[in-house]
């Protein structure tokens, strides 16, 4: 199951995010100056441009902003995964992230459906945060 895919290429800054994911923890960022939450992680706040927002444990709860069932792809790394549900999740904290909807009930996905984070083994031993529909 983990042979397909494309591993994230972590760097010194992002390693903490991927290390947390390996421990089933989802991190986002929060600016200590203006308080804005953000994702994807950067070394500055996109609200006030102050440097060094801090890592913040996310609730892991959110809603499906939108999704698609990918049935064909030109990208060979993911051909074996088809069909899969690619989604944009809006976290309760506000930021959005890209993930997959996984779990037995994924075919019932709808826009605005509540979801919770789950952690999936992926390429090269990496753990990817994904989401599952709540109540299933």
């Amino acid at each position: 199951m983990t042979a397909s895919g494309l591993a994230p290429l972590a760097d010194e800054f992002s390693q903490e995010y991927w290390d947390a994911a390996a421990e089933d923890r989802l991190l986002i960022q929060r600016c200590p100056g203006c308080g804005q939450y953000q994702f994807y992680p950067r070394r500055h706040c996109t609200g006030c441009f102050a440097p060094d927002p801090v890592w913040h444990p996310a609730s892991g709860r959110g809603r499906v902003h939108t999704y698609t069932v990918v049935r064909q792809t030109p990208n060979a790394e993911f051909a074996a995964d088809c069909p899969y549900v690619l989604a944009i999740i809006e976290l309760d904290e506000g930021p959005r992230l890209t993930a997959r909807i996984v779990g037995a009930s994924r075919a019932e996905v709808r826009c605005d459906a509540p979801v919770t984070v789950v952690f999936s083994p992926a390429k090269d031993g990496v753990t990817l945060p994904n989401f599952a529909l709540v109540g299933t």
Partner: protein, 387 residues
């Protein structure tokens, strides 16, 4: 207020390669073929060209990051003004807009914009990621995005928010195919129905195969010069009267809101510089990588209200007799899409305003809007042309 450069520069030559499948032909050869065609159409020679704009860094385009230098070398020219703006399918529109500024400023006299790709045949099996799997891409690529999937995400949310239907999207593909019927070079000319679109396989739902553009080996080129110089040429000049460009997002997690694009900004800039409103536009060539690309542009450019694009399309307003005839050669959905449709959309607008479209010829149009959308609804560039 109308921009001081509006109408000062004209497109004086345009040429679209009739090729659709050209296995084994390096894209640079198609660049040269198209450059020759556009210059011949303009009554100019390669030696007259002192400005060059192109983008050719996709795998199927044959160049790398030095694309404009590679193409200049291949053509055998040494331009004094260059532009290699590389923003996906919208790039040729930005090349045209930038060329207008350069010519108006005296930095170039004759600018050649060329585009070519072996999207179908050169090479096989290339991935379509927009970023690397490091930096921002490390939070998106591992989930398996593809170009069509990112547009499908936008289509799905539009359906949720506004009640847009698969039939509404299909109506756009049906109209483009109808327009292609008369075009002898179009990739596909046999009429299709809404039912045909819905019966074609889902690629990334809600987008079916027939919601997606054709993939071809082809190209196109056009030539710009000052309106004054254009008066001394034999062909009918098509004046650039408006232009605007804008950036959206590359990572889909950063698209906000999910049902609008940078076309709202590029379109507003284009209309302001032209001193025109959407109601002043006689016809449009709207980027049609996918049906949803057209629908979002209709709304964002102001041809209908946000959320009403589906109704606008289904009501037949995109037909030759409708409020806004579009993609009169069949567009990317049925005629030609080698990789960056923008160049070919400009060429069809020029042909339409000259009365030489190979597809549907409208009754004496005087204004045409051309819209480009690149990447994953990432980049927008809008031109307004007039005769």
């Amino acid at each position: 207020m109308t921009a001081n450069w509006s109408g000062q520069v004209a497109i004086v030559g345009a040429y679209e390669s009739p090729r659709r499948v050209a296995a084994g032909l390096h894209p640079f050869a198609i660049h040269a073929e198209c450059a020759r065609g556009a210059l011949t159409d303009a009554g100019l020679e390669l030696a007259d060209v002192d400005g060059l704009a192109t983008a050719a860094s996709f795998p199927a385009e044959g160049a790398r990051e030095m694309a404009v230098a590679e193409i200049a070398e291949y053509l055998g020219i040494h331009p004094r003004w260059i532009d290699g703006t590389d923003i996906g399918g919208a790039a040729p529109l930005s090349h045209a807009g930038h060329a207008v500024a350069a010519i108006a400023a005296g930095l170039a006299d004759v600018v050649l914009v060329t585009y070519a790709a072996g999207g179908r045949s050169w090479p096989h099996g290339a991935a379509d990621y927009l970023t690397y799997a490091h930096g921002p891409g490390q939070w998106e690529l591992p989930y398996g995005p593809s170009t069509v999937a990112t547009y499908a995400l936008a289509a799905r949310r539009h359906m949720h928010d506004y009640g847009t239907t698969a039939e509404d999207l299909a109506a756009i593909a049906v109209q483009c195919r109808a327009n292609a019927a008369a075009n002898p070079d179009a990739r596909y000319r046999t009429p299709i129905t809404v039912e045909d679109v819905l019966a074609s396989p889902l690629v990334a739902d809600p987008l079916h195969r027939l919601d997606c553009c054709v993939v071809t080996d082809s190209g196109g080129a056009f030539v710009l010069t000052s309106a004054r110089r254009a008066e001394r040429l034999s062909g009918k000049p098509v004046h650039v009267i408006g232009f605007g460009e804008a950036l959206g997002q590359v990572s889909m997690s950063q698209m906000w809101p999910f049902t609008a694009t940078a076309a709202a900004a590029s379109g507003a800039r284009a209309f302001e510089s032209a001193g025109l409103r959407p109601a002043d536009i006689d016809c449009a060539q709207l980027y049609d990588s996918f049906t949803i690309t057209v629908l979002l542009a209709l709304e964002d450019l102001g041809f209908c209200a946000k959320g009403e694009g589906g109704t606008f399309a289904s009501a037949g307003e995109l037909a030759p007799g409708g409020a806004l005839p579009i993609n009169t050669d069949g567009g990317g959905l049925s005629s030609n899409h080698p990789g960056r449709r923008g160049a070919l959309a400009i060429i069809e607008a020029v042909r339409q305003l000259r009365g030489t479209s190979p597809g549907v010829r409208l009754d004496d149009p005087h204004t045409a809007l051309v819209h480009g959308m690149g990447g994953s609804l990432s980049t927008s560039s809008t031109l307004i042309l007039g005769v």
